[in-house]
Structures are given as C-alpha cells and as structure tokens.
C-alpha cells in the first residue's frame, strides 16, 4: 500500500474516533445548569492535587509552632529537677566567678583606663566574664551530682578450682634401629 493511501486511512480512522455531536438537548442542559448556578464537577479534583501538599505543609508548620510555643513539657521539668540538684555545684562556681570578677576589676582599676585617665574601650572590646545572667541558659545542661553509693564487691567465697593430678606416665624407651637409612629407603 502506498504511503499516501495509508496516511489517508490513518486520517479516516482518526476522524472516526472523534466523530459525533452532543445530544440535541445539549444547549438547553448547559443553560439550565448555568441558571441553576451549577459548578463544573472536575475543578475540585485538580484543586485537591494542589491543596493536599499545602495542607500537609500547614499541618507541619502548625505542629512546629505548637512545639515551640508549649510552655513547659515533661522533659523540661525533668531537666529543671536535675538543675535543682546541681545547685551546690553552681554556688561553688558562682563564688569562683565572683572572685575572678573582683580580681579582674581590681586589675582594671590599676590601669590608666580604669583610673579614668584614658578613654575607656568600647563595650564590644571588653572581656566578658562568667556573669550569673548567663546561668539560666547553661544550668539545665549541668550534670547532676551522683548520689549513688559506690559499688561494693564481696570477696569470693568459693574455693579455687581443684584440678585432679594426672597419673604419672612412665617414659617409653625406644630402641635404635639396626638398619641404616639408605637401606630402609631401598626396601
């Protein structure tokens, strides 16, 4: 079959597949639906594809916000409890920090700047010491003191393992061979 005839056959079949007209009441049906305020049925389907990822994103954001704005959660209470236990250690650290601060203040006062003879350095250049204000952030992270008694190990009451002594074996005496090695190989 020639290419032209085949193309013609393809065109005819394709035309058959799209041949036809809507029913005679088509116009009336469309106008009735317009007057009734009807909506197209298949717009919602596409919207669902668009909206479902948006909905998932909204849920994730809401969950994240809920987590960040929740005032006190159970783990936070536990951490606070541990921080309370760590108070003696903190007090000790504070005393050390205060001592260091006062020492450094004395050292600063001894300098010309400290004595008011020179312009003071900008705040950003100052050495930041361990101020108590920073404590609330760091304290929950402090390790609680161990309140567990040291492990006591009992002495072993069992006797050492007794191993039976083996019977003494008499040494074997082997008589030297009479035949030399060369002869043995030949045999």
């Amino acid at each position: 079959m020639s290419e032209e005839l085949l193309d013609q056959a393809i065109a005819e079949v394709a035309r058959e597949l799209t041949r036809g007209e809507p029913g005679s009441a088509f116009r009336a049906q469309v106008m009735a639906r317009i007057n009734a305020g009807d909506r197209p049925r298949y717009t919602a389907w596409r919207a669902a594809w668009v909206l479902s990822p948006v909905a998932v994103a909204a849920i994730v954001i809401a969950a994240f916000l809920f987590r960040t704005t929740t005032p006190v959660s159970a783990p936070a209470v536990a951490v606070a409890g541990r921080a309370e236990q760590a108070r003696p250690l903190r007090d000790q650290r504070d005393r050390i920090a205060t001592a260091v601060d006062s020492a450094s203040e004395r050292a600063v006062a001894a300098t010309p700047e400290g004595a008011g003879l020179a312009p003071s350095r900008p705040a950003s250049n100052r050495v930041v010491t361990n101020r108590p204000a920073a404590r609330p952030v760091l304290d929950p992270l402090a390790a609680p003191p161990l309140a567990v008694a040291s492990i006591a190990v009992d002495t072993l009451a069992q006797d050492p393992i007794q191993i039976e002594r083996l019977d003494a074996i008499a040494p074997m005496t082997v008589a030297p061979l009479d035949i030399p090695d060369v002869q043995r190989r030949d045999q």
């Binding site: 005819e12 394709a14 058959e16 597949l17 088509f26």
Partner: protein, 196 residues
C-alpha cells in the same frame, strides 16, 4: 434580536451584560468543536458530553477573564481541553476504564458494522482489518502523540488552536502528528498488516 450575523466577540460582550441568549448562541456555535475536543481526550461519548458541558459552564463563569487576545473559540477550546484532561486523569475515570472498558469496544464494533467502501467482500474485509490495526496503533500511542493526531485529524481545529489547547508550539504539534503517523506505520508493519 437575531444573532446570525453577530460575531463571537459581540456575543461575549452581550453575555457579560447579562444576556443569557447570547451565551446560548455561543454554545450552539461551538458545541460540536468543544464536544469533539473532549471526545479526542476521553474517547467516551458520555464523558465527552459531560466535559463539554462543564467547559461551557466554566467559560460562562470566567467570561470576564476573556480578554480577546485569542479568538473565543481558541479560549473555549483551551478550557475544554483542561476539563477533559482533568477528567481523564481522575481516579474514577481510570477505574471506569479498568472495570468497564466497553466504550472503546462499542465504538470499535460500531465502526466495524459500518458499511464498507470496498468493491468486493474480500477487499472490504482487508480494509476493515487494516482499520482495526490502525485503531489499535492509535490506542497504543503515547497520550501526547495520540492527542495531537486526533485533534489534527478531527478537522475542526487549526494547528494554532491545537497548540493553544496542548500548550505546545506549532512546530511541536506538527512533529507530534508526523511522529504519530510514523509510529502507526511501524505498529502495522510489526503486526503484519500487509505490505505497509
């Protein structure tokens, strides 16, 4: 008022002002083109009619957004194609095709029963065999090639209109139609439909 000599643009303007008869006239003018475009996408007359109705409904609701850059027909066909493709992609439509693929079978049977144009029963049988092969080959095409071929062969649409519907440049549409024909020829050769 008579609407016979009135252009689409004038009818659109009247419909926007709340004249339902003007929109009714637009429906009457373009219903066949809209229906066939939907049929090319859906291959089921019932689905095509529903999609065509939905397209007109949507066009009526969006009449204010028609700016007149393209013709009203092109604008309407673009809406129709979107509606039909949404329907084609829908799960219920897929389910219908899986459970009851009778619409295509019915169409095939209807075409097979159509009077053959061949001069002899043997020639008619051979021609019908070839047509069946072509139908199978069209069905086996990828949706992009099949859509372009069916719309191009329907006879209702220019290549520009098809390009607007399928969101593809003119050259791409022409290539798809040509490629579809090539694929059909290959399919026929592979299935031994005579010396194609």
């Amino acid at each position: 008022m008579s609407t016979v000599c009135v252009t689409d643009v004038e009818l659109v303007a009247r419909a926007r002002q709340g004249d339902p008869a003007a929109f009714g006239e637009l429906v009457e003018r373009h219903r066949a083109a809209v229906y066939r475009a939907a049929l090319a996408a859906l291959r089921s007359p019932a689905d095509a009619e529903d999609a065509a109705q939905d397209a007109f409904l949507l066009a009526y609701r969006r009449l204010d957004s028609f700016r007149g850059d393209a013709s009203f027909k092109t604008w309407l066909l673009t809406i129709t194609w979107h509606q039909a493709i949404n329907r084609r992609r829908s799960l219920s439509s897929v389910w219908r095709r899986v459970v009851a693929p009778k619409t295509e079978a019915e169409a095939d049977a209807m075409m097979a029963n159509a009077p053959a144009a061949g001069p002899s029963p043997e020639a008619a049988a051979a021609q019908e065999e070839l047509r069946r092969g072509i139908r199978e080959a069209i069905r086996a095409l990828s949706p992009k090639l099949r859509d372009a071929l069916l719309l191009a062969q329907a006879g209702d649409y220019s290549y520009e209109e098809i390009g607007a519907m399928l969101h593809a440049p003119l050259g791409t549409i022409k290539w798809r139609v040509s490629e579809a024909r090539k694929m059909i020829r290959k399919h026929l050769e592979a299935h031994g439909y005579g010396d194609v």
